[in-house]
């Protein structure tokens, strides 16, 4: 079921990145550029069609200070409700699991149960507390996630984790939906007298007017 990671970057090209001017250098990669982070993106069989990767995982080797910003849409998806609660319980996190294909939004109590089960299953595989696992979902609104396929893909996903550029690139592809390009960037700069790295990935092409808080 799961595709190997070196194919994933071939699915869609990378977006041109326009970084504002400043005292930093752009460096290769994205979420794995900073020390302590690994990532993976595989095809877990969640997308409605095609076999573009659809499951991503970003992990940190240590307890990471965790922050989140979430939609203020009154109809908030189950993973949004779950993450807000997790960040209330814990100031740190160790993993972010992202699925593309179904948004797990407008799915009621059953959808919330799905997100709990996925977080719990990954926490067990990574030997973490449930609230150290954060979850993001994107895709068709109103459809529950293909939970069995997701749970079955977790071992392959965890085994694919790597701090390499490919890890960051495959994760950036796996979170996309109608995107024509993947979005990933990293910079290096001085904070105090030390060199620090900040990296990231994003997705989005339609239903874009964020009002997060």
């Amino acid at each position: 079921v799961a595709s190997s990671m070196d194919e994933t970057a071939n699915y869609i090209p990378a977006a041109p990145i326009f970084i504002p001017e400043g005292p930093w250098n752009q460096i290769p990669g994205g979420v794995t550029a900073a020390k302590g982070f690994k990532a993976a993106g595989i095809y877990g069989g969640l997308r409605a069609q095609g076999n573009k990767p659809d499951l991503a995982l970003v992990t940190c080797d240590v307890d990471a200070a965790a922050a989140g910003a979430f939609t203020t849409n009154m109809v908030a998806a189950a993973p949004v409700l779950y993450c807000k609660n997790a960040l209330d319980i814990s100031k740190t996190a160790r993993a972010v699991l992202i699925n593309a294909g179904q948004a797990n939004a407008a799915t009621g109590d059953a959808g919330y149960q799905d997100v709990l089960e996925c977080a719990d299953a990954l926490a067990k595989v990574l030997n973490l507390k449930q609230e150290e696992v954060l979850i993001e979902s994107t895709g068709v609104i109103g459809h529950r996630i293909k939970k069995e396929a997701l749970l079955n893909a977790l071992p392959e996903l965890v085994n694919s984790l790597t701090s390499s550029l490919e890890g960051a690139g495959s994760a950036a592809v796996a979170i996309t939906t109608t995107d024509l390009v993947s979005k990933s960037v990293a910079i290096e700069s001085q904070v105090g007298d030390m060199s620090v790295r900040v990296g990231g990935m994003a997705k989005g092409s339609g239903m874009i007017h964020p009002n997060m808080a």
Partner: protein, 212 residues
């Protein structure tokens, strides 16, 4: 839906990190728009491992915090602009810069109002330097300013100054990549930016053919 995951190896206390992340989100992802539809799933998660060995940041006021904030703003703006650039059906990125407002928040609100306007977006798709639509979108942002202070530039072409429309060379050439709209509304210190994309037939096609 937009999703983001941000990582850093800076050492920063969780409470300070949460404030910094929200400031950066307001300067980036909360300033983009493609279709005016706020999703049920929009989320940015940001993790700081502290493994760089940098000085621990325990206050948002210190110089290290300001340096890290600038890096965080830059990474999030780069990602936010790539989301707007990749808007469904888009042929170019629109970057709206507003200066002269009373505050950063007010400037940002005007900028986002212009970037969100379907008429401005359609004009950019039609390569029409329609200063009237830009002025109108700035005017309905809900931020008071005197219309005689309004100045509008499209790229490096001045279209309106002190509220008066100006003649311009229509054949100034196609704009590829990023269309820059520069608006000044007065002599305040408030500066803000927003990013969007043009509105093409393809946006309707993509979303009309799509069915759940």
């Amino acid at each position: 839906t937009m999703l983001g995951v941000i990582t850093t190896d800076a050492l920063v206390e969780a409470d300070v990190w949460r404030k910094m992340v929200l400031i950066a989100v307001n300067r980036s992802f909360n300033q983009i728009t493609v279709d005016g539809d706020t999703s049920t799933n929009d989320t940015v998660i940001a993790l700081a491992s502290g493994l760089s060995g940098s000085t621990s940041i325990s206050s948002i006021e210190c110089s290290e915090a300001r340096q890290l904030q600038a890096c965080l703003d830059a990474v999030m703006q780069a990602l936010a602009k790539s989301v707007a650039w990749d808007g469904e059906g888009a042929t170019c990125l629109i970057e709206v810069t507003v200066t002269g407002a009373e505050s950063e928040v007010k400037a940002a609100k005007i900028a986002r109002s212009v970037a969100s306007s379907s008429l401005v977006k359609a004009a950019v798709y039609g390569r029409d330097p329609n200063w009237g639509r830009i002025a109108a979108a700035a005017g309905y942002a809900g931020i008071p300013f005197h219309q005689n202070n309004l100045r509008v530039m499209l790229g490096d072409i001045l279209l309106m100054d002190n509220g008066q429309p100006l003649a311009f060379d229509r054949k100034a050439g196609e704009t590829h990549g990023t269309v820059g709209i520069y608006i000044s509304v007065g002599d305040g210190s408030g500066h803000g930016q927003a990013w969007g994309c043009d509105l093409s037939y393809d946006y309707v096609k993509i979303n009309a053919e799509y069915t759940t």
